[in-house]
């Protein structure tokens, strides 16, 4: 007679093997088309190649990238786009604090503010490009009030202004939702006790609300910084194509430009790897800060 324990554990082992089999297709696809390409990109970044023949050039692509004045200028552009981060957080904080008071219709507001998040960056970019175009609604309004039409996309700083506006407009709803979830986690009794002690609304905002969501604010700050470095491609592609000159080109857009320059894929790959490293480090910092905050 077979020992029942052995049979059960044999059955368990079979189950576990089946489970592994069920997880395998997803794992293999990710390994083949996400993990392997990253390795491949790193390899390409050390070569001079047209995609058919590869010539090892060591660190040359990286050195070229770091010495390239265009790359430096573009990196500065990314830093300029960081202006959007405090603006975005300010608006999102304002909205979340107001929504937290749960005035009439706050749930509807939540959905309305969320609308831009289901639309593509390319679509929102096209919307802004069209609104700020020569015949767009903004220039029509300027002309109607007797002003001169402004060519927003032929001057770098104006174009950057429009892109930042698009970033804030499309981003604040989602960020305020995140902050709202942080606010909802605060113990309501603290507010009530403070109110009993005579602390007014502003006082409570400053001494209770803000300190309690500072981790959430830090988190929102970092994801927005990450976003400005990795996800402006759609905006730039449809609004300015990086121009005038390189005035609105960001690192992620430059990777796209360099990627399909005829002749040599190496420098594009090197820039992409550097971007990846930069994003990876920022994310590690984020996890570190976030975890430390949770423990304390």
């Amino acid at each position: 007679m077979a020992d029942p324990v052995v049979r059960v554990s044999g059955w368990r082992r079979r189950e576990r093997r089946l489970a592994l089999l069920a997880a395998l297709p997803a794992f293999l696809i990710v390994a083949a088309f996400m993990v392997y390409p990253v390795g491949f990109a790193i390899y390409i970044s050390f070569t001079q190649t047209n995609g058919l023949r590869y010539k090892w050039v060591g660190l040359k692509n990286y050195l070229d990238i770091l010495n390239d004045p265009i790359v430096r200028a573009v990196f500065v552009n990314n830093l300029v786009f960081l202006i959007s981060v405090p603006l975005l957080i300010f608006v999102a904080l304002l909205v979340s604090v107001l929504m937290f008071e749960k005035v009439r219709g706050w749930k509807a507001f939540r959905v309305l503010f969320f609308i831009p998040n289901v639309l593509s960056v390319a679509l929102i970019g096209t919307m802004f490009r069209s609104a700020f175009g020569y015949y767009g609604v903004v220039n029509s309004a300027i002309a109607a009030t007797g002003g001169q039409r402004v060519s927003f996309f032929t001057e770098g700083s104006l174009a950057i202004f429009v892109i930042i506006l698009a970033l804030v407009w499309s981003g604040f709803g989602y960020q305020s939702l995140l902050l709202l979830s942080g606010l909802s986690a605060i113990d309501q009794q603290i507010f009530e006790a403070a109110a009993l002690d005579g602390a007014g609304w502003w006082r409570r905002l400053w001494s209770i609300t803000l300190p309690n969501i500072r981790m959430m604010l830090g988190f929102v700050f970092i994801i927005n910084v990450l976003y400005t470095f990795s996800s402006l491609f759609g905006f730039i592609y449809v609004m300015t194509a990086g121009g005038p000159g390189y005035a609105t080109t960001t690192i992620d857009y430059l990777v796209f430009l360099k990627a399909f320059q005829p002749g040599n894929l190496g420098p594009g790959a090197a820039l992409a790897v550097l971007l990846f490293l930069f994003i990876g480090i920022l994310t590690l910092v984020q996890n570190r800060v976030f975890r430390l905050g949770k423990e304390s």
């Binding site: 189950e15 576990r16 489970a19 592994l20 069920a22 395998l24 297709p25 997803a26 794992f27 696809i29 990710v30 088309f33 996400m34 990253v38 491949f40 990109a41 995609g51 107001l98 929504m99 008071e101 005035v103 009439r104 219709g105 509807a108 959905v111 309305l112 503010f113 969320f114 609308i115 289901v118 639309l119 593509s120 960056v121 390319a122 919307m127 490009r129 015949y135 609604v137 029509s140 109607a144 407009w169 939702l177 995140l178 979830s181 507010f191 009530e192 109110a195 609304w201 990795s230 491609f233 592609y237 449809v238 796209f256 990627a259 894929l265 790897v273 971007l275 990846f276 994003i279 994310t283």
Partner: protein
């Protein structure tokens, strides 16, 4: 709708807050209203009075988009690519998520860790190697290649999402099924999947939106005459600066599906996107 109002807020402070939020909501909603109105007029009519209402309403722009710019075909292609990619992706992610959440799979921690860490990979790192790999496989310019890329780039988040949702299911129900002798697939199909249907639906919608809105890979992998909707719109927007009503019509067509989805399932979508942020 049941409203619970904060008790701590002075009654007289409520109207100003409501008005402030309403004004902000107007800046979000009005552009869409303006787009719809602009899309329903001719260009000459628009140029005569861009800020007012049209003198004459027309569907002409939509007809032009359909006939001269192939927007109808692009719409159908996008729908097909997105549906197929999401279907494959969610089936694989659901299976993998269930196994990794519920079984001591050999190497399970490693696999889960791999899914989580590749979520960080930006698309820009992938474009060169993916293009070269797909061109070696003869898949550049084909919808199959694009579907493959969409499935692969979507799977890490999708699997992670399913791991989290299967972990949150009550342990005892699944355990009871197993004690009754139901095997892996029985438990999965008859117990776990029905219980996880809400989160699966959320994932389907999020991933569908992601595919519908994707630009970068479609742009580099498909030729102009086989292009999907979002890149087509980007091209029209860039070329036709002088015809606002036509561009507006393109925007309306592209925005229509995501907005419909949001109206139909705002709770699911907002909860799901909240999870993306909280990962």
């Amino acid at each position: 709708m049941a409203e619970e109002t904060s008790l701590l807020l002075a009654r007289k402070a409520r109207p100003p807050i409501f008005i402030a939020l309403s004004l902000l909501a107007l800046t979000v909603v009005y552009p869409f209203v303006y787009l719809v109105i602009t899309s329903l007029r001719s260009n000459t009519d628009y140029l005569r009075n861009p800020l007012g209402l049209p003198a004459e309403w027309t569907l002409h722009n939509f007809v032009v988009l359909l006939n001269a710019y192939g927007v109808g075909d692009a719409f159908m292609r996008t729908l097909a690519v997105a549906v197929v990619a999401v279907l494959i992706e969610v089936v694989l992610a659901s299976l993998a998520g269930y196994s990794l959440a519920r079984y001591a799979v050999p190497g399970g921690k490693l696999i889960t860790g791999a899914f989580v860490s590749v979520m960080l990979i930006p698309g820009q790192v992938l474009i060169i190697p993916i293009y070269l790999m797909l061109s070696k496989l003869g898949l550049v310019g084909s919808y199959g290649g694009l579907v493959l890329v969409y499935v692969a780039t979507g799977l890490p988040f999708a699997t992670f999402f399913m791991i989290l949702s299967y972990r949150s299911l009550p342990q005892d129900v699944l355990e009871a099924a197993r004690v009754d002798g139901a095997g892996f697939f029985r438990t999965y199909f008859w117990v776990a999947m029905p219980m996880g249907v809400a989160s699966t639906a959320t994932l389907v919608m999020l991933e569908f939106l992601g595919k519908w809105n994707e630009l970068l890979f479609a742009l580099i992998l498909l030729p102009a005459d086989k292009q999907l909707l979002t890149p087509t719109l980007a091209q029209i927007g860039g070329k036709l600066d002088t015809n606002q009503p036509l561009v507006s019509a393109g925007l309306v067509v592209t925005a229509f599906v995501p907005l419909l989805l949001l109206v139909a399932a705002s709770n699911y979508i907002m909860k799901g996107m909240g999870m993306i942020g909280a990962k």
